[in-house]
């Protein structure tokens, strides 16, 4: 499970930022983005529910010359209770990547009511 960015502590100002691009190894076809969330143990991470993020994941299959949208999500800050009753430590997105070589991925992060402080992890499987 190669990590393209591992727990990268970022403070994302309001507006749009780009995470990456990162080279994607061959023979992987899933992309996972994790943004750490506010928990009792780490209350300074993304604490405000009013702080929102729009993530758009883009992939390139020609070495970065062109990118196409793969998927994305929107999320808000604050503490969330997961189905298992615990505090949710990460907002996570899993999505497919088309097989190929010479691939890159990047994520466009649009923050409102920032800054948004989080640890960002990018994995490909």
């Amino acid at each position: 499970m190669p990590k393209l960015a591992n727990g990268l502590l970022v403070s994302i100002a309001s507006g749009t930022q780009v995470l990456g691009p990162f080279n994607v190894p061959n023979n992987v076809n899933q992309f996972v983005l994790r943004l750490s969330r506010c928990t009792s143990l780490d209350p300074l991470i993304w604490p405000n529910e009013s702080t929102g993020i729009t993530v758009t994941v883009l992939a390139s299959y020609d070495g970065g010359a062109t990118y196409v949208e793969v998927g994305g999500f929107t999320a808000s800050g604050g503490v969330l209770i997961a189905p298992d009753g615990a505090e949710l430590a990460f907002t996570t997105m899993w999505t497919d990547l088309v097989d190929g070589s010479n691939r890159k991925v990047k994520a466009e992060l649009g923050v409102t009511n920032g800054p948004l402080v989080t640890n960002a992890t990018l994995e490909v499987n």
């Binding site: 969330r37 929102g52 758009t56 196409v68 949208e69 793969v70 998927g71 994305g72 999500f73 929107t74 999320a75 808000s76 969330l80 209770i81 997961a82 189905p83 298992d84 949710l88 990460f90 907002t91 996570t92 997105m93 899993w94 999505t95 497919d96 088309v98």
Partner: protein
């Protein structure tokens, strides 16, 4: 046939919305299914607030759902299944929104072959909660039953539960397409394409017992297979003669697709721009920098329309030119309104871009440094280059206000677009608005006399008059202001897809046989492209033209294939049924005998009879054309009807009949050749004959009226009791033979040429000879040679006269008045 094209998915923890792009572009007309399993945790999102959209602006309808509820203490999962037809193709990203910190597994799928409309048939869903079943877990899942309406349908659904791995196993008939998970939830998407209507449910088992699950299923009808049904008078079997005569029709009716349109407008919007400047006496050069359309600069043949507004206190002379000082073509007239203080000047002009498109244009000075200028640029593609303005432009203007109210226009050509430009002059300008216009560009320019301009286009006109609404905005209106406006209808150029495909349609009507004068060889003559008519979106009518050269010896089977170029579906379709063309009758044999061989109507060349002996009481009773060849041909009535020129040829060693030709035949209608020709009455009607043979004898060979050159009788011996009983006109009869003898050769008014060694007859000429008759022969004997009136001359050149002795040569000239 329903086919899955592609699928993709996304999972998310703690998200308000998710979006997922299809890997490949969606194909226009295909069917999209979106399925989501979600868990809301402690969210307060009410059920039903979740919505689906995509970047192709498709409209999704939820077809099955099991919704979570914040009042549900069990906090089970929700399941949704949405579907949409996608009329448009292209890159597509689906977004599900309206959630609040949800845990989502989303799958998106594209199918082809699902009905375009009314695809939805039925659906069902089920949510299992152990609390409803005495805390019992389950190892099976179901959606509950659905009953489908037609045989071929897409059944699609999913099941989800709080696991992170694929623990699902669908029952027989169901195919697991994909699974999608987040940290807590996993769903599996199943499909089944049915071949029989009936009762179905998405059912299966879990590999581990579950306390709950949610499952959905929906059924969607397959689109009817594209097909072409062939009807018309050419089906299912026609004759060779039908093809020769023309007039038969093939009617091709398509279903599941349509014929390509008769015409398609080529109008497209390239882009626009707007600009302004303060008053100046200098020219202003503008570089094209278009936005909002297909391109940033015009291409060859694009139509550039520039509207130039000047706010002034006078009537200014404006120009719009290219950089080579060539004027753009003025639309209507240059407009001027003499306001109380502020005068509006507006010049609208256009230019088709040359092969090397221009990159700039030049505006004249405004006329004074106090007069501000403003302009708009709109560029269109596919405008009719010969007549770009569909009808005369409509101009309008007024004083006492700056509110532009463009004039109404009535275009004449379907598909015309309207271009509307308005200008105004005032003390303090503002930007106009016109929400009904596309890519409305507006600006104003400040100076002593402010200039305002706004322009855009309208594509919604279909018929009648269109009266554009007055512009909004424009700043504070004042009685000292004035305005001007131009309304233009742009005539589109068209392509003609159906007309262009007609030749291919004709080529697609193909025979399984390949005779030299058969269907495939004669197809382009039998069906000229003009005879291929687009009757409606689904019907094409093909009419056969006459083709006398079509000639086959064996049946042809013809298949109609509508080519891809003629169908919007872009796939060629083979029509059903085929049709056959039967060859004309052909009879061959040593001996042919029949009471009534052909009683109907046949066309020239339709019947060939070949045999050593041909005998029948009545061989041909109708209108017909024959070729009869044989050693012996004998019948009571061979030809009783009417035949046309060249239609009958009888060749045989012996031809004998009581009445061979009883009807009327045209020039060269009958050719009889044989060693012996004998019959009581061979020709009783008005005829044209050629008779050649060694011995020709009959009681009455020719009883009717003959035209010039109509009768030629050549033979060693020609003898008959009454050879010519009717009226003949000059040159009508030529007798040539060594011996010509008859009791009454000519009883009517005739002009004859008789040439032979021996000519003898009791009464050779008993009627009136209207012109000249010639009898040349070695021996001519007759009791009464001329019994009637000789109007002109009869020359006799006997080498020997009966009763004379010695050698004489007598040249006699008879003239009677």
């Amino acid at each position: 046939m329903i086919t899955r094209v592609q699928h993709a998915g996304i999972g998310g923890d703690g998200v308000n919305s998710v979006s997922k792009s299809f890997t490949s572009n969606i194909t226009a007309g295909n069917f999209i299914v979106v399925q989501m399993s979600s868990y809301y945790g402690d969210s307060t999102v009410p059920p039903g607030s979740v919505a689906v959209s995509d970047t192709l602006s498709n409209t999704y309808t939820v077809r099955s759902h099991v919704e979570d509820s914040t009042t549900d203490a069990w906090a089970s999962r929700s399941a949704y299944l949405w579907a949409a037809n996608s009329p448009s193709g292209g890159a597509n990203t689906v977004q599900v929104s309206g959630m609040s910190s949800a845990y989502v597994a989303l799958s998106i799928l594209e199918y082809s072959g699902v009905a375009d409309s009314s695809a939805y048939d039925t659906a069902n869903q089920f949510r299992y909660r152990d609390s409803d079943h005495g805390s019992a877990t389950t190892t099976t899942f179901t959606t509950n039953n659905i009953s489908t309406a037609q045989n071929d349908e897409l059944l699609i659904g999913h099941v989800g539960t709080l696991v992170t791995t694929d623990i699902y196993s669908g029952d027989t008939g169901w195919t697991e397409v994909r699974t999608q998970a987040n940290s807590f939830n996993n769903h599996a998407v199943y499909e089944q394409i049915t071949t029989a209507s009936g009762t179905y449910a998405l059912t299966g088992t879990f590999s581990a017992a579950q306390a709950g699950y949610s499952a959905c299923v929906a059924a969607f009808k397959a689109a009817p297979d594209d097909s072409v049904a062939i009807t018309g008078t050419a089906t299912a079997s026609i004759s060779e003669t039908d093809v020769r005569n023309g007039g038969k029709t093939l009617i091709a009716t398509v279903s599941g697709t349509t014929f390509v349109p008769a015409s398609v407008s080529q109008l497209a919007y390239v882009g626009g721009q707007v600009g302004s400047f303060a008053g100046t006496n200098s020219t202003t050069t503008v570089t094209f920098s278009l936005t909002g359309g297909l391109a940033s600069t015009p291409a060859a043949n694009d139509l550039v329309i520039v509207a130039y507004s000047v706010g002034s206190s006078a009537d200014r002379a404006l120009t719009i030119q290219n950089t080579g000082a060539t004027n753009y073509t003025l639309v209507g007239s240059e407009l001027y309104q003499n306001g109380t203080t502020y005068d509006s000047n507006l010049r609208v002009a256009y230019r088709f871009m040359p092969g090397t498109p221009e990159t700039q244009f030049v505006l004249s000075g405004t006329g004074a440094v106090q007069d501000a200028g403003a302009y708009t640029v709109h560029v269109f593609r596919g405008v009719d280059s010969g007549t770009p303005l569909d009808v005369a432009a409509v101009t309008a203007g007024n004083t006492g206000t700056r509110v532009v109210n463009p004039g109404a226009i009535t275009p004449s050509t379907a598909g015309a677009w309207l271009f509307i430009a308005g200008a105004a002059a005032g003390g303090t300008g503002g930007n106009f608005t016109a929400s009904y216009l596309t890519d409305f560009r507006a600006t104003s320019s400040a100076d002593n006399n402010d200039a305002m301009i706004g322009a855009g286009y309208y594509t919604g006109w279909t018929s009648g008059s269109y009266d554009p609404a007055a512009f909004g905005g424009g700043g504070t209106d004042d009685a000292a202001d004035s305005w001007t406006a131009v309304t233009v209808a742009l005539r589109p150029s068209f392509t003609t897809p159906f007309a262009d495909a007609r030749s291919a349609i004709v080529s697609g009507i193909d025979s399984a046989q390949s005779e030299g004068t058969g269907w495939d060889a004669r197809r382009s003559t039998i069906i000229p492209v003009a005879n291929v008519v687009r009757t409606s979106d689904t019907v094409c009518t093909i009419t056969f033209a006459a083709d006398a050269s079509y000639d086959i010896t064996a049946q042809e089977t013809v298949t109609v294939t509508i080519p891809a170029a003629a169908l919007t579906g872009g796939v060629a379709l083979v029509g059903t049924p085929t049709f056959t063309i039967d060859a004309g009758a052909s009879i061959s044999g040593a001996t042919l005998a029949a009471t009534l061989l052909f009683a109907g109507t046949v066309s020239p060349g339709a019947v060939d009879i070949t045999g050593t002996n041909i005998a029948g009481t009545q061989l041909f009773a109708g209108s017909l054309a024959y070729v009869v060849s044989g050693g012996t041909i004998a019948d009571t009535v061979l030809f009783a009807g009417t035949v046309s020129p060249g239609e009958v040829s009888v060749t045989g060693t012996t031809i004998a009949d009581g009445q061979v030709f009883a009807g009327t035949v045209g020039q060269d209608g009958v050719v009889i050749s044989g060693a012996s020709i004998d019959g009581t009455q061979l020709f009783s009607g008005s005829v044209v004959y050629v008779i050649s043979g060694a011995n020709i004898a009959d009681s009455q060979l020719f009883a009717g009226t003959a035209a010039p050159g109509a009768v030629t009788v050549s033979g060693t011996s020609v003898a008959a009791t009454q050879i010519f009983a009717g009226t003949v006109i000059p040159g009508a009869v030529t007798l040539a033979g060594e011996f010509i003898s008859a009791t009454q050769l000519y009883t009517g008014s005739a002009v004859l040429i008789v040439t032979g060694s021996n000519i003898a007859g009791t009464q050779t000429y008993s009627g009136e000879v209207s012109l000249a008759g010639f009898v040349n022969g070695a021996h001519i004997a007759s009791t009464v040679l001329q019994g009637g009136t000789v109007v002109l001359a009869l020359n006799l050149y006997p080498s020997a006269w009966t009763g004379m002795s010695g050698l004489y040569r007598v040249v006699a000239r008879f003239r009677r008045f």
